[in-house]
Subunit: 381 residues, 2 copies
C-alpha cells in the first residue's frame, strides 16, 4: 500500500487489541504487517460478532495484515522467525513482561543481533515497577488509571468508557513512538526499544482532572455529561431526547442566549461570565432545559447550526454510520473476507495530501494464510 | 531535548487541546515546539485550575514549548511568521477550515513555498464534507461520534467520557501522521499535508460496537461497566466499594471460581463457556456479588493478585498519583513555572531504550516569552 510508511515491514506478535490497534495504524500508513500467530491464532479470532463463522471484530482490527503461524518454542519455526526479524524494521509484541525473555527473544537479544530494529513492547503495567508482571485488560487500566472515577453520574454504579480506550490509547502512543523511532533510524541507522504501559497511557490522558488534583484541588469525581470548567457545556433534555451544547466562551454564550431567546439567560447576573456560569451550573441547566424541552432535538440542531453554536445530537452507532459527514469523509470502508464476503469497517482517520480515502481496503488474513509466500520470500520454502 | 525527534522544529498555531496535545507528544520526543499565539494568548491560559494566577491546566499541556505572539494580519509579524515556517519542519494548526486560507497561509500556499514542510490541520469535522465549516468541541464529537451512546447506564442521563477523549485521540492520530510523514521526508525530501478530523477519529475508535452494528447486529447501547462480549468483565460491589474483575478467557474464569471458592461458579452450566456467561451475565453478576459483598475491596485485590486474575480497584485521581506503579514508572513529573513555581503534571508514557524518565521537565512558556530569542535566531532582531 502506498503511504509514508511504504517499505517498512512490521513483525507483529501482538494479540487482541492494544498491539493490533497499533499495527493497524501502521498498516494504514503503508507498512507491511506480518502477524505471527500461535497455532490457535489471535484470541480475538474467537470474539464476536461473527459473519459466516468469521470474527468481524478480528477482521476490523487486522485488515490489511498478513498471517503466519509460528511456534516460537520449535527450532524450525524459530529459524523462520529469526529470518523474518532480520528482514523486518519493526517488532511489536504485547506479551506480559518476561515472556519474550523466556523465549530468548527479548529486546536486548534481538536489538544486539539487529541494531536497526525498532522493538516495541506494549504491556499492561510496563517493563518495570512492582506490578510489571501482573496481567491486565482494558477494564483494569480504565479502573486503575482513574478514568472510570471521572466517568458516569455521581453516586451511581461505576461506568467503563464504552470503547476499549485503555487498549486504544496504548496502541496509538506505541504507533507514535514507532514512527518517531523510524524517522530517527533514517538519520542514525539505529533502532530503538520502546516500552509502552497501558496504565501509563491512562495517566497521560487524565488532562484537566489530574491537573486539578495536582495543583492543590480536591479529588475530581464523575460529572455526567458536564465539562469540569466550562458552562454551558453538557447535554440538555429536549422534547424527544437530548442535545449537546458546547458554548465554550462568552461570545458563544451570548449567541446561545439570543438563539434560545431567553431573558434570564441574557440578564441573570449568575450567568454573566464562564466562572459564574460554572458556579451556578445547575441553575443554568434548569433555565436552558425549560426552553429545550419545548421542542424536539432536530429543532435545536437547526437553531444552533444557524447561530453557529457548537452542538449536536447524541448519535447511536447507526446514526454515525448514516451521517452525511461520516459518509463524505469516507470513514466507513469495505473489506473482502475470504469467508465472510464483504464486510464494512471503520477506516483510517489520517487523510494525506488531500487524497480521497479508498472505498475498499484489503481484508484480514486467514490464520497462516501467507505462510507459503513468506517462506518463499525468505528463501526457506 | 534528546529524543527521536531531535532537530525537528514545529510551528504550532493550535489552541486549547487537540493541537496542543499533539505537539506535547512531539515535544516529549525531542521536537522543538514554537507556539505562535495571538495577543490574548491560547484560550486555555484562562482555564482553571490556577496557581498564583497561572493556569496549571495550560502548563500541563504546553510544558516544554516556546511562545511568540504574532498577529498574522500584521505585515511585520507575517514576515516573522514566514521566516519561522521557512526554518520549520512541521506546522500544526487547529483553526476552523478556511481560516488559514483567508490569511493567505493555507497548506497549498505554504507547501508550494516550502516543499519539505509537513502541514497538519486538525479540525472538528475535517477539511471536506458538509459539516466542514462547523465549530466543534470535544463534547460535540463525543456525542456525534457515537461514544456517548455507548457510555453510561441504560435508561439514565447521557454521560460524557470524563476526559476530553475527542481532542486527545485527534491529537494522537495527528502525531502519528506527522511522525510518519517525517520518516517519509527523510527518504524523499518531500513534506505531506495531513487533514485530521476529530469526528473521524471518534469513528476510528468505536471498535467492537461499530463492528457489531456493521456486521448486521443491533444498535449497541451503554453497558455500565460491562464488556459487550466477555464475562465476567465488569465492576462488582464489595463490602466497601467496587472491584473490577476481567476474566478474559475460560482458564481465568476457572481460576476465579477457585479463588472465590464458590460451587455455583464452578458447576452451574449457565457459566460453562464465555458465550454462556455472556448470555447469563446478570445471573453471573448476582452470584459473584453475593461473594464479593462479604469482604472489602482490599481483600479481593489480594485474592486476585495471588491467583493471577486480572483485576483492580477503581482508583480516584488521588489514588492514581499515590499508586506505587505510577510512581515507579515516573509518570508524575515536576515542571518549573516562572509564576506558579513548581507544578506537578503527568509525563510522557513513551519509554525509550530503558532510560528512566526525567523527574523534572521544562515548564510552559509565558506568553511571548521567547520572542527576543526567536527573532535573534531568525536574524530579525
Amino acid at each position: 500500500m502506498p503511504g509514508p510508511l511504504e517499505g517498512i515491514t512490521v513483525v507483529d506478535l501482538s494479540r487482541v487489541l492494544a498491539g493490533p490497534f497499533c499495527t493497524l495504524a501502521l498498516a494504514d500508513l503503508g507498512a507491511r504487517v506480518i502477524k505471527v500467530e500461535s497455532g490457535k491464532g489471535d484470541d480475538s479470532r474467537a470474539f464476536g460478532p461473527f459473519v459466516n463463522g468469521t470474527s468481524a471484530y478480528f477482521a476490523s482490527v487486522n485488515r490489511g495484515k498478513e498471517s503466519i503461524v509460528l511456534d516460537l518454542k520449535d527450532a524450525a519455526d524459530r529459524r523462520v522467525f529469526e529470518a523474518l526479524v532480520a528482514h523486518a524494521d519493526v517488532l511489536v509484541e504485547n506479551f506480559r513482561p518476561g515472556v519474550m525473555a523466556r523465549l530468548g527473544l527479548d529486546s536486548d537479544v534481538l536489538t544486539k543481533r539487529h541494531p536497526r530494529l525498532v522493538y516495541a513492547a506494549i504491556s499492561g503495567f510496563g517493563q518495570s515497577g512492582p506490578y510489571s508482571d501482573r496481567p491486565a485488560y482494558d477494564l483494569v487500566v480504565q479502573a486503575m488509571g482513574g478514568l472510570m472515577s471521572l466517568t458516569g453520574h455521581p453516586g451511581q454504579d461505576p461506568v467503563r468508557v464504552g470503547t476499549s480506550i485503555g487498549d486504544i490509547t496504548a496502541g496509538l502512543y506505541a504507533a507514535i513512538g514507532i514512527t518517531a523511532a523510524l524517522r530517527e533510524r533514517e538519520r542514525t541507522g539505529r533502532g530503538t526499544v520502546l516500552d509502552i504501559a497501558m496504565l501509563d497511557c491512562q495517566v497521560a490522558i487524565l488532562e484537566n482532572a489530574i491537573s486539578r488534583y495536582l495543583s492543590g484541588g480536591s479529588v475530581p469525581g464523575p460529572l455526567g455529561a458536564r465539562h469540569p470548567a466550562i458552562a454551558p457545556f453538557e447535554s440538555y433534555a429536549t422534547a424527544d431526547g437530548h442535545v449537546v451544547i458546547a458554548a465554550g466562551n462568552d461570545a458563544l454564550f451570548e449567541k446561545l442566549a439570543t438563539a434560545l431567546d431567553d431573558d434570564a439567560l441574557r440578564t441573570d447576573p449568575r450567568f454573566w461570565t464562564n466562572d459564574l456560569r460554572n458556579a451556578n451550573v445547575l441553575a443554568l441547566k434548569a433555565v436552558i432545559e425549560r426552553i429545550t424541552r419545548q421542542q424536539p432535538t432536530r429543532h435545536w440542531l437547526e437553531v444552533m447550526a444557524k447561530a453557529g453554536i457548537p452542538g449536536g445530537p447524541i448519535n447511536t452507532v447507526a446514526d454515525v454510520v448514516a451521517d452525511p459527514q461520516v459518509k463524505a469523509r469516507g470513514m466507513i470502508v469495505s473489506i473482502d473476507d475470504p469467508n465472510a464476503g464483504t464486510l464494512r469497517v471503520a477506516g483510517s482517520p489520517i487523510r494525506i495530501d488531500g487524497a480521497p480515502p479508498a472505498e475498499r481496503l484489503p481484508g484480514a488474513p486467514v490464520l497462516d494464510g501467507q505462510r507459503a509466500a513468506i517462506l518463499a520470500e525468505l528463501g526457506l520454502a
